[in-house]
Amino acid sequence: MRLRAVSFAGLAMLALVLVQSNASEAQDSRLPVESVEADVSTRSVSITSGFTGTEIIIFGAVENSRQPSAEAGTYDVVIVVEGTHQPLVVRKKAQVGGLWVNADQVRFASFPSYYAIASTRPIDEIAEHDVQKKNQIGFEHIRMVRSGRAYIGEADPLETIEFREAVVRLKERDRLYVTAEHGVIFIGRSLFRATITLPPNVPVGPLTARVMLFKDGALLGSYKSNVNMQREGLERFLYDSAFERPMLYALATILLAALAGLGAAFAFQRSAPT
């Protein structure tokens, strides 16, 4: 026990020294370096029969904040909430013999099912493109891997960009990719918060929330948190049944359908004056 306590103290000392030396190098000052701490209002979102979308609130604080007031704008905060990365097929229609048919297709190995970005001001004002790209901030910098193979036609690799833009456009249309350029608000010198809206059609799966603190275009610190999203109650029972016991699920559906039909036929016979 004592040994462990001693080693802990030693580690803490070492860490402190490292942090301080780091700070003095980077900031060229004796002030402690800023960092960010954050959390989400809810760690789990339940999808029940009554689910019509929900909001999650992300709040946090800048440790050792040096900004004089909430309006000073010394710091920028970017919050990115992402759904699970999934493979995605995008198809493009073309006119063939007078008919509009799917002619080209590109398969991406991975694309986030949901992507929300909130920031204190437009991200292009916050950081340069290479910084954005490194931290995967913004629709343009979503990491995507193209996995060719399954083509209908042969889409030119140069055309991939067109397909990529189409993904973003279609996802934005479905309100699954959202931007809030002034969605993060400082409440005091160090406190900030943002509201992220999950639409009713949000794909079910865990979400990752990243909170990044910027100053003068440089990333000072970041924080990552997870939000569980799962089906609950009846919703979960039905979904599990459909995927794990499809035969039983189908028979139950048929039985209910047939009973409803029979019930109506007999109910109407009794009430009808024929």
């Binding site: 029969s49 097929v89 456009r169 279609l170």
Partner: protein, 305 residues
Amino acid sequence: MHVYLPIAEMSVSVLVFLGLGAAVGFLSGLFGVGGGFLLTPLLIFLGIPPAVAVGTGAAHIVASSVSGAVTQFRRNNVDVKMGVVMLAGGLVGTYIGVEAVRLLRKAGHFDVAVSLLYVTFLGVIGTLMLIESLNSWRNVNAGAAAARRRSGQHNWVDGLPLKMRFTRSKLFISAIPPAVIGMFVGFLAALMGVGGGFVMIPAMIYLLRMPTAVVVGTSLFQIVFVAAFAVLLHAIQNRTVDIVLAMLLIVGGVLGSQFGAIAGEKLRGEQLRVMLAALVVVVAMRVAFDLVVMPSELFSFGGRT
């Protein structure tokens, strides 16, 4: 009031889908068709993923056709023997159809294939029906007796083996044509998310020369089982049957189909056929429009893979 659909993964208005079920059910009861040829395109139009629309539509067809079939059965309008022969072919056709859906979806041509089938079958059959039914309506109105069955006329169908006596239909014909018709309709049913009444009813009238009185009941009787089999296959193979959506459509549908059946009693057969034909042609033109006119968005996501 909204409800979240477990398979379609979206929140929808309860009233909209109850109303849709009722409207389609009414037409189903009126014309003796499953109503799928209206329901599937409408579900897709309302944002339900096409594959889920096809799978869930089949469940709606089970309910509305059971309801209609029972009503027809009590009026002795079902030729059970003929229905069973058609059903035997229908189950085989459904199996092939669901398999075709899987392959077409994989290849990315499902949407277009379905649209082309809609345009071809609804267009051709609707137009033929419209011309024929308008002619017979005119004849009836002019006082001439509608030629129900041209006696003495023989065709290649009469030469086939496996002859069976269908007492209720007053027919003595080979079992092969009804079984083949059943199989073909089962195939289309699975592929298009329809019951197939719009193909089966004309085939029964013009090819098998069944009396119109038993056509609607027998068609509904057969559709019940083909649609149930389609639900089973879609649920197992593609996981595209949404039970919550199905129940919404069914509750609306069974009520609507009863009113439809009652309304149908008050209309003459010729009138019904003109109306059905016109409806079929309109749906075909609507689908054709989307195929020919440049879509506002050329890109789309492939279905679940």
